[in-house]
Subunit: 655 residues, 2 copies
């Protein structure tokens, strides 16, 4: 014994053990001391200087076609020198506070614009992790960042409201003649915002907690917000596909949706545990039906399954876990159909093992209060009808236009798309004065109507004016197409082959008809960018960099080419095209969480390109999203949510 | 230069610096590694054994006077051996899931009783920090712990419902003859519970998120839950004092209240920042009126002030901070009037410095949608009327009976108190069969009606049966009083003095009339225990220990005294009195948070006893509440909330 102690004492093991323990304790103690020291400095009594907002900020004057108050100044407009300086800059008005808007704001250089953001929510939501919030793997508050914090480096103005109309005026300043560019905004109170049309459930109750007394509403308050540059980034709503009964289904677009689903699931578990609940009712309460086999549907199904298997099994009657079922109804033949086949298959096999029921080739016919009916087409084309009981139905099948986007497409010429605003390669909304209105993210889609510009292209490239396009001219045309229709780029790469394919009469020239055929064929093959956070984010960053450059040039007086003669008016030029490249999307791959496993579809050669796996992949998936956070705050919150789940499981309190 | 480097290299400073840095990094890395390693073990596929609940659990048989289903078994009743074993034990039914209930559960030994807990909320709420949750200093989720987790060591049953009636039967088993003891419970779904009567706002909307589709309700489902021992721990509701217009005010009793207040404040800040809001509207929106100068009112006022001063100043227009006002309306002449005078004064001075407006000697006359009117009585007794605009009114003035407590007091004899159920010194509800119904916490109050037991006392102590009480007999009587009326204890200490005071005719004996005078006088001076978490917690712990002892004695067969002769029936004895001491409360002092400062009122001699101070006291206050948490989980959550506030401030997202 004594010898063993002596040996231990002299050996390195003990020394290292002591050293290790000491290090851990010292390390943690230091961290605590630093945090505490910092914390103690955050409580201070601050004296206020007296603020005197301008008269115009306190009482905006009415104007514009509808004679509404025109917001030309804000009460915070004279707070400090920086704000005062921004006041003189171009007015950049951003509608929406999602991925595109926040990406734009984070890349935009402070002080270049007088920024205003209009959104009914005063926070930015990290949407990709919304499925995790439906069962409490992460807390809803860990996914959001106040818009005011994002705006603060720009000393931007936030207006809680929703855009409803635009006046595409000719200038910002009515005194210069012409009409003013105005965004019409309906101001909302937080308790009204949930009643917005297009939220999916217009008949829904106010969002306020149950015990909140009713409040005065900010009803029918509309204002005009003048803009030099308007950015439409309002996102999308869930597509209904005309299916009846969707008022009985949840959507998953907003933080309230995630909270609602969590409440409903926990409540169902409680009701299923009540003494008088019959086996049939229990089956219904514990049947969770998800319509849509895309990433949102798959991830929500996974999260619900995880919760059933981890927390429900630990704390609820075990009978519940036994009776609980998760259904995933997909219209295509595979789930995750936008991913590689390998990943679809991995996910399907994983779900089969986990007893998540996948129904493919199925169309939901109707959603009822406590069931979902759908039809399935089998391999022989035979259609059969089915019905599953449902205690919670999630509807996550594609996107549709938000009310503001819809009203804009109706108002503008050259807009014919059904899902979003058509934008050109510079992200400018088609049909609006160039350089004034941009659209980003789900609210926008790149124009693919090559054929509409046929004559422009031919006129531009037919240098010998013979009405036909030679191969040399075609090379110029192709480069022009690639520039104006980035989505067509990959179809205009092997030019010689392309030229010969369409040169039907082999005269070494393409006639206008031959080019029209080529354009129509290409147009058919072009696929729009997916409605993902990644696209929105890249578009926001692109626009921010362009706006930075334009503002810098303007400050230096180099924005416009100097007129050749003193008398000449300034030439009409396309500033975006002159000073910046068109938007081009770089696919960085996609990820999906599949129940304690994750899948990656990366733009890399196989077999590295697409892979799926268990725990390690799941940790990679989490790390990626942690790194993507817009603030260190949410990063820490998410991390602590993950740690907490590991130690204590999910919180099953129904609040 | 070279020399300096060499010196540094050889000196201890560098070595310690390297060592220190290494320690911190190594310490943190080890912590991360341990957490990660543990986390990776928590994702496992678990196979289910088949569960077959008893027929009685699946289909409870109807019974009792109202022929409702009698819950004699639960679906989880046969899950494992421990649960099966508990099934044979006495049924302990606890109504309510607050401080008293959780304190009882945490001190109760597992396996001694078949425990069922009935509450509309499936979580326990740490009420003392509710004011901090109204502005997001801590998150609501950090204050709650799922009841199912607390119950899990007892393999207890949780029923989401609210008690509405009791059948005080003579036995648990109807087959033994007599009537069964039954608790009538109304089952609720989570979305219904907020509509409960007595929640203060019967007309309130359902608690569900705005986007939640409506659900089937668990309407009119009532069951009987049989009990051997019933514990009423339903807490209280806020007293209305008959003031009209309280539907316009918030209460602060539940987590939904805190969330509602937070939403309202953040929403008011947003509306106040909108361009068309007039200065008058802004003044109203930014006026926060709190009625009630007790700890809840004072702490909420402090938290709102903190937020205005820290977060609002950083992220909202500075004009808002300038116009914002906090009002505290108190009916007494000082705020925190249950604390020492020193603390009241400290708080009042602190608030005066912080521009929190205190109105004392004031009675609220009416609460309106956007104002509060009150009357003030000045020193000369002159009453003046005032009105303040209000964007958020909090009503926190004393407690009243919850509907269940009220219906019990109406049903029972010997119940005359207006605020709670009267209990004897063993916490048994007066008027119920001894040893079957207990009441704890805010729902109960110790009986002070000495006079009602006058003849009992005299009969018991008048050993020489002369109809008078000698000093010797009086000593016995005093000890008897102290035992049965613990609140009277301190009045029965100086016995000689007391005896002589009331022995008006100096005959060295007290007549029944003289004792009646003494009792009435004492009764008038006795003060009820305060309705605090501390009292509830001590009562719960007391009852748990008693129940443990009774169960152990029963298991050993030593509960009842053995009858002297074989034919004699078992004598009717008071088991509580026979085996356990009466409840006695130990005041451990009280705490209050006063805006980056805290006050302590401890049962220690002055000047240590009551003190108030700045940051250090605030950290002490926080440490105390951290230590008081019911789980490590909420402790960590709270700690991380505090750290987060220090680093990033409060979250101002209105969700």
């Amino acid at each position: 014994m004594n010898k063993a102690v002596r040996w231990l004492y002299h050996s390195r093991i003990l020394r290292w053990f002591v050293f290790g323990t000491f290090s851990i304790v010292f390390g943690l103690a230091s961290a605590v001391a630093i945090v505490l020291a910092h914390d103690s400095l955050t409580y201070k009594h601050r004296d206020l200087q007296k603020i005197s907002p301008s008269e115009l900020a306190l009482h905006p004057e009415p104007g514009g076609p509808k004679n509404l108050p025109v917001v030309s100044d804000y009460v915070e407009g004279d707070e400090d020198n920086f704000t005062r300086e921004c006041k003189g800059k171009e007015r950049l008005v951003i509608v929406g506070g999602g991925w595109a808007a926040v990406s734009l704001l984070s890349k935009l250089e402070p002080g270049r614009y007088n920024v205003t953001l209009v959104s009914p929510n005063n926070f930015y939501l990290f949407t990709p992790l919304l499925p995790s919030a439906t069962v409490g793997t992460v807390e809803p508050r860990s996914l959001i960042e106040p818009i005011r914090k994002v705006l603060s480096r720009h000393r931007g103005h936030y207006v809680q409201g929703k855009a409803i109309d635009v006046e595409l005026g000719s200038s910002i300043d009515p005194s210069e003649g012409g009409t003013q560019r105005l965004l019409e905004v309906q101001l909302v109170s937080g308790e009204e915002k949930s009643g917005m049309p297009g939220r999916g459930h217009p008949e829904a109750q106010p969002a306020a907690g149950s015990s909140a007394p009713p409040r005065d509403e900010v009803k029918d308050r509309r204002v005009y917000i003048p803009y030099d540059k308007l950015v439409v980034a309002v996102g999308s709503v869930t597509s209904t596909h005309g299916v009846p009964g969707l008022e009985h289904a949840f959507h998953l677009k907003d933080i309230e949706d995630a909270r609602g689903i969590r409440s409903r699931i926990l409540d169902n578990l409680e009701i299923a545990s009540l003494p008088t609940t019959t086996p049939e009712e229990r089956e219904k309460l514990l049947s969770f039906v998800i319509s849509g086999g895309g990433p949102t549907g798959v991830e929500t199904a996974s999260e619900i399954y995880d919760m059933l298997n981890e927390d429900v099994l630990d704390y609820y009657p075990k009978l519940l876990r036994q009776q609980a079922k998760v259904w995933l109804i997909q219209s295509r033949s595979h789930i995750l159909n936008t991913y590689s086949e390998k990943i679809s298959k991995y996910a399907e096999e994983k779900f089969a093992r986990d007893e998540v029921h996948i129904v493919t080739n199925a169309r939901v016919k109707e959603v009822k209060q406590d069931s979902v009916s759908y039809t399935v087409k089998d391999e022989d084309g035979k259609v059969t009808e089915h019905e599953v009981p449902s205690g919670m139905t999630l509807w996550s099948t594609g996107i549709a236009m938000s009310p503001f986007t819809r009203s804009m497409t109706q108002m503008l010429p050259n807009q014919s798309h059904l899902k979003a605003l058509l934008v050109d390669s510079h992200l400018r909304v088609q049909g609006t004065p160039k350089g004034t209105v941009y659209a980003l993210g789900d609210a926008s889609t790149l124009d693919t109507r090559l054929i509409d510009s046929l004559y422009d292209f031919v006129d531009e490239c037919d240098t010998d004016h013979d009405g036909r396009i030679s191969y040399n001219e075609f090379q110029k045309l192709a480069s022009s197409v690639r520039k104006r229709f980035p989505l067509a780029s990959k179809h205009f790469e092997k030019l010689r082959d392309l030229f010969e394919t369409y040169d039907k009469d082999h005269d070494e020239h393409l006639s206008t008809n031959e080019i029209a055929d080529m354009f129509l064929e290409t147009q058919r093959k072009m696929t729009a960018l997916p409605a993902t956070a990644q696209v929105a984010s890249q578009e926001g960053a692109y626009l921010a960099k362009k706006l930075n450059k334009l503002a810098k040039l303007k400050e230096k007086g180099q924005l416009l080419p100097s007129p050749s003669k003193a008398e000449d008016p300034v030439p009409k030029v396309d500033l975006d095209e002159m000073h910046y490249t068109p938007f081009s999307y770089r696919n960085l791959g996609s990820l999906a969480y599949i129940g304690n496993a994750a899948a990656f579809d990366l733009p890399l050669p196989e077999p590295i390109g697409s892979f799926a796996g268990g725990l390690v992949a799941m940790y990679m998936w989490r790390s990626f999203y942690l790194s993507e956070q817009v603030s260190t705050r949410t990063r820490m919150l998410l991390l602590s949510d993950y740690i907490r789940r590991g130690i204590w499981g999910r919180d099953i309190s129904r609040i």
